[in-house]
Assembly symmetry: C2
Homo-oligomer: 331 residues x 2
């Protein structure tokens, strides 16, 4: 059986209140140093472990943060890691949920308040946030959205994907591309749309014909397969702006396999700036997300609201910036 404060109290002929006050650290009334020590000592001897479930029931705090992400692809994992580093000193645990693969993310979001977490971080998950809020208008769990910019109330750390995309496509044109394509995945969410808008705007301004290649998923295998299919039926574009680095790496692999040279035949630019892009034989140009700043601010906003639920919502818009590497540098 589990050791409870009652067991300790009985053993010492004290009340549970006294034991609780010592063990929880917050002594609302005076407890003598001698008693404190006796309690601490006995707790250690008996192997007492506080029951956080019971504690949470009365305090309303679980010390758990929930992270909603689309997937746990490398980019998202980098974010998870950075967030964990931020949170750790404050003693929170992290529950991670990848919503895209979730069989019923809608019902999950609707019923989410049942978990009683202390805060929610929504990474590029505006759909989930919307469903959650609509189903629970009266719930006020601290929530911060981070990721791609979109119209949003409440705390928010956004990244301007549009101008990042513009920068990338302009760079492709400057590198000499005349028919650069946009490689994206099927499911149209706001991240893909923002980058699409940037791509289209530059192409139109340059008077060039846009070309969009659509793969099933935003993963490496999917992009690789789609590029193979595409190249069997069509001429090769001379540039590739990709929805994310995963797709860029997948496409790159397909090009290698077909003997197409990068960057001479095709210049490639990805998005996100995951670590993998630096470790290819020909490092990948990419629009780097300011993940460190994003996580730092995101956690700052969330913690502020946890400590004081009534502070005014804060919103920040960060810039993504292009990093040019070999995959788009022609001599």
């Amino acid at each position: 059986m589990r050791v409870t404060i009652r067991d300790i109290a009985n053993r010492l002929n004290l009340s549970t209140a006294t034991v609780s006050k010592v063990l929880s650290g917050r002594e609302s009334t005076f407890i003598s140093e001698a008693t404190r020590q006796r309690v601490l000592e006995t707790a250690r001897e008996m192997g007492y472990r506080p029951n956080r479930v019971a504690r949470a029931l009365v305090t309303g705090k679980t010390d758990i943060i929930s992270l909603w992400a689309e997937t746990l692809a490398p980019y998202h994992t980098e974010v998870v890691n950075l967030l964990m580093d931020q949170m750790r000193p404050y003693g929170f645990e992290l529950i991670v949920t990848d919503m895209v693969k979730h069989p019923d993310w809608r019902a999950y979001c609707e019923k989410f308040p049942q978990w009683q977490v202390d805060g929610i971080i929504a990474l590029d998950s505006p759909r989930c946030v919307r469903v959650y809020h609509e189903a629970n208008p009266m719930v006020r769990t601290p929530l911060v959205s981070i990721g791609a910019y979109y119209l949003e109330e409440g705390d928010f750390v956004g990244v301007d994907l549009y101008s990042g995309a513009v920068e990338a496509v302009q760079h492709l044109l400057e590198a000499g591309c005349r028919r650069p394509a946009y490689l994206v995945c099927e499911y149209g969410h706001h991240v893909g749309d923002a980058r699409y808008d940037g791509y289209i705007s530059v192409m139109q301004q340059a008077g060039l014909e846009p070309l969009v290649i659509v793969a099933e998923q935003s993963s490496r295998p999917s992009a690789r397969q789609r590029m193979h299919e595409y190249l069997q039926e069509h001429p090769c574009p001379d540039g590739l702006f990709c929805f994310n680095d995963e797709m860029a790496i997948g496409a790159y692999r397909a090009l290698c396999e077909r003997g197409i040279r990068v960057p001479d035949d095709v210049a490639i630019v990805g998005c996100d700036g995951i670590m993998d892009t630096e470790y290819l034989e020909r490092p990948l140009s990419t629009v780097v997300q300011p993940v460190a700043e994003m996580c730092r601010l995101g956690w700052e906003f969330l913690l502020r609201r946890i400590e004081n639920p009534s502070v005014a919502p804060q919103q920040v818009l960060l810039k993504a910036h292009l990093v040019v590497r070999d995959s788009s540098t022609r001599r």
Copy 2:
């Protein structure tokens, strides 16, 4: 304010017991269909969300699983993803903890029972398991260890890293290497040791001089930096067996940067079989972990024990197998 079953009961002039029985799905006594519908309807109208904290306090079940991993490097993330896929149909949430970066993993493991999770999956974390058990001898939370094989009681899905390493190093010798090195990280844990043993045994049997290169961490940047340092002072080995794929990719990058050709000058073999290894210009040979099987069995064992705590512990030892790709194939 939050809606409770008491609110529903009051509104309908029923007892909380009746409401609870309907809402929790398990009706131990008869409830008329009419009442059932009224309760369900009212719960929906009032936006009732069950309080899982309160439920957990009485049932002793939180529906939360904890995953202990060393880090969230790509290999571990693949495992996390696979485990989530397994667990999802059963309605469990996952709390992820990366222990290596944890400022005080020891205290964390000692006090872990406070979280009251329903089960623990320890991925390559024997140290944590040991500390946890020693500090909590009477606690019987279902726990399954998965990963590298080591002496272990309780449920366990292991992988025979030793023979995987042997296979890899023998392959390097067959590819013509005469002084292949083992690239590993500083902190000696059982995973590194098992692979080291395999390396040493093959080298000794072949009458060759072992050579171990030690980086600070098992990450790409660390391996890359260490290889640069090493090559400034020493001649280049003609083969590289790496602790994991991360280090292999980092080392590969360093070699590229120094103009050393792979596989002609150096043949490389990594370990784990992460997806990245397939997406390099020159795909990486690697000892693939049977992650899918590992996760499938791991979850099966854990679920079995959750449902019936007294079943006999089950242990399985899987094989890792070498996949030869371009990075070690000489013509």
